[in-house]
């Protein structure tokens, strides 16, 4: 275990993280996460946004060590998680939990809700039966479910209630870091706001830090302090949420924001600048800047050289952008 003395305020620090997946019957590899570095401060919510397949879930899973990194370093509260062996990893897992998008699939249908929520406690040998039962009751209250829910099965609950069960399980061990992977994407709007409010409450009560993965920019703007925008495995822009939404720098971030249909009637169809084409195959990422084939502002250098992260000025706050326009 190595300790990094510089990270006094960071709960999580990731450096040069890569995750490649083998492709069946081919020497090629899926470059799902490519040289990602990020920091998450205590009590902060960092949003990770980007389109389908850009590597958000893979990043979240590698950080939680549910997947082994191909390369790179991960520190959680100063502990080098990437280098942990199986035993130490088990202990470290208490501090980091996952909330899933597909709530239903992630809940064991044959178990009662009480058992499901108690599972992390059982696995880590926390308390005796009675203490665990009490904790389950407490957790149910925290996520806004009735005590009677403990003796029911997942199928008896609505989507929003199932997500509450998933959240109760995730916070059972009072983790420091919660990776929330599209926690409200499968929910209807009227339920979505209930769950978002619950996540805000829990952050305040328990001092949680969230890595909040989503493709919904409005949700991210609502709940996050800082945002990292991913494109094809890379983080192309990082900024405090207000700065990112009021002054997006990367052409991809701009296009992404412009593409969102907004319920405000100020723009009508046909009036927005459109990005052409679709994200390329991550097995064969383009050379140079990965966004250059779709970029309306691509220059010669973009086709050959990958841009480093430049610092865009922003009221003394860090605003990083991987784009030659800012070099």
């Amino acid at each position: 275990m190595t300790h990094d003395p510089t990270m006094t305020h960071d709960l999580l620090k990731v450096e040069g993280l890569r995750k490649y997946f083998p492709v069946k019957g081919s020497p090629r590899k899926v470059h799902a996460v490519e040289d990602v570095s990020l920091r998450l401060r205590h009590g902060e919510t960092l949003g990770v946004v980007g389109e389908s397949g850009c590597g958000k879930s893979t990043l979240g899973r590698v950080i939680l060590r549910l997947l082994a990194p191909t390369e790179g370093r991960i520190w959680l509260d100063g502990v080098d998680v990437a280098g942990l062996g199986p035993r130490q990893l088990r202990a470290a897992r208490r501090d980091m939990q996952l909330i899933f998008q597909d709530v239903y699939a992630s809940l064991d249908k044959r178990q009662k809700v009480g058992q499901i929520i108690a599972e992390p406690l059982t696995v880590h040998g926390v308390g005796d039966r009675k203490a665990r039962r009490e904790r389950v009751m407490e957790l149910l209250g925290m996520v806004g479910l009735e005590p009677s829910a403990a003796d029911q099965y997942p199928h008896e609950f609505s989507g929003g209630q199932r997500q509450r069960i998933g959240i109760a399980r995730a916070i059972a061990l009072s983790p420091k870091l919660v990776v929330a992977d599209e926690p409200v994407s499968a929910l209807d709007v009227s339920i979505q706001s209930q769950i978002l409010n619950l996540l805000v409450d829990l952050r305040k009560q328990l001092g949680l830090s969230y890595l909040f993965i989503s493709h919904d920019m409005a949700v991210v703007e609502h709940i996050c302090n800082r945002v990292a925008v991913m494109y094809l495995g890379q983080i192309v822009e990082t900024a405090p949420v207000e700065d990112l939404f009021s002054g997006p720098r990367h052409p991809y971030t701009r296009a992404l924001l412009a593409a969102i249909p907004r319920p405000d009637l100020r723009r009508r169809r046909g009036e927005r600048p459109l990005l052409h084409g679709e994200p390329p195959n991550p097995e064969t990422p383009p050379p140079g800047c990965r966004f250059h084939p779709r970029c309306p502002q691509a220059m010669a250098v973009c086709r050959s050289t990958a841009p480093p992260e430049y610092s865009a000025e922003g009221a003394g706050r860090f605003h990083g952008v991987k784009c030659h326009l800012y070099g």
Binding site: E51, S52, S158, G159, G160, Q161, D188, V189, S190, I191, Q192, S193, Q194, L196, N197, V200, H215, M217, A218, V219, E221, H222, I223, V241, E242, F245, A255, L256, L257, A258, A259, I260, P261, R262, P263, D264, L265, R267, R268, R269, G270, R272, L274, L275, H276, E278, P279
Partner: protein, 333 residues
């Protein structure tokens, strides 16, 4: 929809009246769609919005007469397409309408494209069936419609199978198939839900362009109020199988009358308007077999509900020009 007409309104293409659709289940019959009515005029886009399970797809499938019967049954209603009631058509006549005068884009593109045939064959089949085209003519026209929906290299893509295409391209193929015969009416059920926003924006723009060029009427089904705001002329909001509000898009967004619509509008996080907590709508949608009888279905969750709301079903009534609402205590009363 009655209400006062604006001067010289475009002709009505689709008029659904008092449509009620039930399903026979093991535990008895349930109603998925109740007394639904709306009017779609030529060259207009009507949005049908509502949360999951509120009956949007069942309504669309009923119009197309594609519901499996049994278990589905149409309890009452008329579906007037160019003044003829589709519910009275025998199946063989209906088959000449589907995919021809009415095009449809289904909610799940993978289930409606056959993985065993090339996309070109599948689009061509529509043309061979409805237009009696031979193979070569159908292939030429197929390439043409594929190009028309922005599929690059259509000449070689016609010979590809669905799984060889990206989600965005598959969706374009679905649109091409629905538009192959220049329909008068397009029913698009969540045409962009499975797509990324940058691709969704392309598809929505494409639909708007084609709709204008072909002077087509579109019934656009979606749960995304952003899509509605940008694409539709008129909106019908469904809740638990009923239409609770129906209005021109500007009017709906600036002056929502039904407490449910009002709640939805406040519950969605909006870009540029941060707040720590979002307003919520308490509770959840009653399930199909637990809908209360003889009252407003939203009453249990409604902050404005009064005693009458639990006694009597509010009918859809006209409030302003073209703006209807089914509520005993609406917001702008």
């Amino acid at each position: 929809m009655t209400g006062k007409e604006t001067p010289a309104p475009a002709e009505t293409v689709l008029a659904v009246r008092d449509l009620t659709v039930g399903f026979a289940t093991e535990t008895g019959a349930v109603r998925a769609v109740e007394s639904v009515g709306f009017t779609l005029r030529r060259g207009r886009i009507l949005g049908l919005v509502g949360e999951s399970g509120c009956g949007k797809s069942v309504t669309a499938m009923a119009v197309m007469r594609l519901l499996p019967t049994p278990p589905a049954f149409v309890e009452s209603g008329r579906i007037l397409f160019d003044d003829e009631d589709l519910l009275t058509f025998p199946e063989n006549r209906m088959r000449t309408v589907r995919g021809n005068r009415i095009g449809m884009i289904f909610q799940e593109p993978m289930t409606s494209l056959n993985p065993c045939f090339t996309v070109g064959f599948q689009i061509g089949e529509v043309l061979r069936f409805h237009r009696g085209m031979n193979r070569d003519a159908a292939r030429d026209r197929t390439v043409e419609v594929m190009e028309g929906v922005g599929i690059g290299a259509a000449g070689s893509r016609v010979d590809q199978y669905p799984h060889q295409l990206s989600g965005g391209l598959r969706q374009r193929v679905m649109i091409a198939m629905a538009l192959a015969c220049d329909p008068r009416l397009l029913i698009a059920d969540e045409p962009t839900t499975a797509l990324d926003v940058t691709v969704q924006a392309q598809i929505l723009n494409l639909l708007a362009q084609l709709q204008e060029r072909l002077d087509m009427s579109v019934l656009l089904i979606t749960h995304d109020l952003g899509v509605v705001a940008e694409s539709c002329d008129h909106v019908a909001v469904m809740y638990a199988g009923r239409i609770v509000e129906s209005a021109p898009v500007e009017d709906l967004f600036t002056r929502p009358a039904h407490p449910y619509t009002y709640g939805l509008m406040s519950a969605i996080p909006r870009l540029g308007r941060r707040s720590e907590y979002l307003p919520t709508i308490a509770g959840m949608v009653p399930s199909l077999d637990h809908r209360p009888v003889g009252q407003c279905y939203f009453a249990e969750r409604c902050p404005r509900a009064g005693e009458r709301c639990f006694r009597e079903i509010p009918p859809l009534t006209s409030r302003r020009e073209n703006h209807e609402c089914a509520c005993w205590n609406p917001h702008d009363a």
